[in-house]
């Protein structure tokens, strides 16, 4: 009758299993792994930007991105041949926002996504808000008919996400932990403390987009620790000499892996920009089922021809 200790459950995430990481629904359906990485990355970025346009707190955006990422993982996960990246991104955001104190209506969500998909490029970084605005509002006008049919799709996709995820919508985040850890490390005396915290948060945000699915393979404490470790090096704040990360439930090996993962994301993003960025490569990454099918077909022809 002793209460089962499950206190920590709120701080722990369900992680992807080895089987889930070794294959995916998309790959089983014939989508090449590298293309899948690209699309997943584009979808995560899209979710981030859509969340920002919807004025959602980063906490919620991060949860949505993690949910979005979980959806595609594993042989039982969603397949790019079945579900469009955009609508899955929209549904994740809708679902997470619905559970949060900042619910968004289907119309708000769909309008935002209509706007974003009218933009000429895939990778929507901070430059988005300064430069690229579609010339005519017609490009992103959502007619009532389109809205209604998209709403149906949104709901269907939502149900499907829930089923794929076994109705587990819980996502634990490392942000608060990160602040706690910084306080524990007593760095807030340091003049660079604020820069350090910002940098650590930036790393946490970056890892949301990592092709290594860091949020699906590591628990929040490890992520927070790695972000702090890396940020402290970059900013030049000296942390204790001893193995302080052990205190935060992270061993050396995991820390090293995460730091490398975080650092490698930059190169990955550059590569993606080369491939799909505006005016480069082949334009937008395929974000709908049709576009993915066309891309797969195109590659097959190329391979066959080559």
């Amino acid at each position: 009758m002793a209460p089962t200790p499950t206190q920590s459950s709120q701080l722990v995430n369900p992680l992807a299993t080895t089987a889930q990481l070794s294959s995916s629904g998309s790959q089983l359906d014939g989508v090449p792994a590298d293309l899948e990485d690209s699309i997943r990355f584009a979808g995560a970025s899209l979710t981030q930007v859509a969340g920002m346009l919807l004025r959602l707190p980063q906490e919620i955006i991060a949860r949505a991105i993690i949910l979005f990422t979980r959806f595609w993982v594993g042989p039982e996960g969603g397949s790019l041949i079945e579900y469009g990246t955009e609508i899955v991104s929209a549904s994740s955001l809708y679902l997470i926002a619905k559970l949060s104190p900042y619910p968004k209506s289907p119309r708000q969500i769909l309008t935002t996504y209509a706007y974003l998909s009218s933009l000429p490029m895939t990778l929507l970084t901070s430059s988005l808000f300064s430069s690229k605005v579609p010339e005519s509002p017609d490009a992103y006008y959502l007619s009532e008919g389109t809205y209604l049919s998209q709403r149906v799709t949104l709901m269907k996709t939502e149900s499907h996400i829930l089923r794929v995820l076994g109705f587990d919508t819980h996502v634990a985040l490392p942000y608060t932990l990160c602040v706690n850890y910084l306080q524990t490390l007593d760095v807030f005396q340091h003049p660079q403390a604020s820069a350090l915290a910002k940098r650590a948060f930036a790393h946490l945000n970056t890892s949301l987009l990592s092709p290594q699915l860091l949020y699906l393979t590591h628990q929040p404490p490890a992520l927070a620790t790695a972000a702090i470790y890396l940020a402290a090096r970059e900013v030049g704040v000296k942390l204790p000499d001893n193995e302080w990360w052990e205190v935060f439930d992270t061993d050396r090996e995991e820390l090293g892996f995460l730091v490398v993962g975080l650092l490698s994301t930059e190169a990955f993003v550059k590569g993606e920009e080369e491939r799909w960025g505006e005016g480069k490569g082949r334009g937008k990454a395929p974000m709908t089922v049709e576009a993915v099918e066309a891309e797969v077909e195109r590659r097959r022809i190329l391979e066959g021809g080559g």
Binding site: S9, Q27, P75, K98, P103, S105, E158, F167
Partner: protein, 606 residues
Amino acid sequence: MAQSPESTPLRPIARRFHGCSKIDEYDIMSKLGEGTFGEVHKARQVRTGATVAMKKILMHNEKDGFPITALREIKLLKMLCHDNVLKLEEMAVERKKGAGRQRAILYMVTPYMDHDLSGLLDNPDVHFTEPQIKCYMLQLFKGLQYLHDNHILHRDMKAANLLINNRGRLQIADFGLARHYEEPVPRKGMGNGSAKRDYTQLVVTRWYRPPELLLSLRRYTPAIDMWGAGCVFGEMFKRKPILAGTSDLNQAHIIFELVGSPNDESMPGWRDLNGCEGVKQFPPNPNPKLTHVFRELGPYAISLLKALLTLDWRKRINAIDAIDHPYFKMEPKPMREEDIPRFADSHELDRRNTRGQRPLPPAPAGGAVGMPDWNGTGPPPTNGPWMNGDRRGGGPQDRGPPGVGPPPGGYNRGGSYDNRRGPYDHRGPPPPPPRHQHQPYRPDNRNQGLPYDDAPPRHALPHPPPEGRHPLPHPPPHNYAGPGIRGPPRHGDPGDRYVPRYDGSRDERDRHDRRSRESDDVRSRDGRRGSRDSGNSRDAQSMERGIPPSRDDRGAYRPPSRDDRAQGYRPPRDYGRDTKRSRTRSPDRERENQRERERVRDVYRR
């Protein structure tokens, strides 16, 4: 394993999902109950042979996708793991082929529990000994301690939500109204603390609602669950709800009769509350009758009861201290779970599917809870505007009427209802549900006040009819249209199959009269409800009064679901159009809901 791109390249393959099984992995055995939220079935998992309960999640309101209340409940349950908290095993999906719409039906799968407490208390064959009561109460407190310790308020504590199996295990169920609590958790010896933010008042079934909620405290604490536990404690001795108010105001009155009126000493700060439906003055009651009413209990039991039913929510005992209460240390010691007798012998229970998803919450709070007219401050109703659209539609009572207490006599309504009410009726003779305070449906009823005063304890009642009792008022008349089974509803159906053994048959006529009166009320209410703008006028009303929509308002709102439910019970042989009717009805509700929802959209939730 990966298909090569050449072979059937872009055809999605069939997949199955973890934590989410198909309905055909279960053999549905029997229906345990139903309500507007959907149905609960008993089923056997084919693979393991385990018996489970499956609660259907209805997706009426497709506009907003998966019902937020169900999402919340699932999310909470997935995080909880305790011996005394009902576990969510998984979700099961049923895909209906064809029928134009491909909407999947979802079930929440939980372990099957043999009884619910309110059903058990209702069964005359079951007698609780004190050691057994101690055992259950300890388990209840442990469950509550776990919840509160995890920052969760249950907010619908009542006997019907406490499930008990034949191995003596008690589990807290139904988290449809539960929510995360953002304040510090209760600590040993420190009462239940205080809250810094507002929460919705539209929670807790009326008969278990604590005084601070009745007086409109928004910053409530885990103490509200402890009050409910106190009511349950008393109920275990009295075998019926100890505080069966007929309206919120009446509820407050009978509480104050029992434990004394609020004053600056017994309930500091009560003057600052908005009062109950605008009433802020209560006659002083120098002689609370608790000690007298529960005189057959020992001093320690009374001391615990008093600690639980303490007006001052700050001083009310918390779960940790309740576990340590001397009551549990005294002889007779609490029984061990495994020593508790099985109630297998009560076949009646089995037959009646004791799990007891009784359908008709006499809507005290149920309806009350989380109706769309949540006024915007504080947290959202756990089941906000989606209310009717999801399984919580009928309020939180999926486990049965919120404390429908049987009237002192017991319904002898055999016949007509029998066939459909089977599963729910173990709860003894239902009193007319106390729904509307403005509806004096039994003004002369001796049961108005504290029911236990004059009413014999439940076990003294005659053997309940094997079937056919149900806590419901008469369904609206059109339900009776059905031939046969239904029969003429109100007056002792000559065809009653059950002739109660009781000598209290004098009560019969009364009861029927009451019922018939009541059913008229239902009818008229239904008529009223028919007008579409009821929702709005309700709002206007409550705004005018500058108080949160009160229960009577909510009461007015309820009939749709009641009606629905009533329809739901119809035996299959009722014409199909009945089903259709409920279907066509729902758009109306939905529209109304929709309006409500739009109104509260911004403030909605939390």
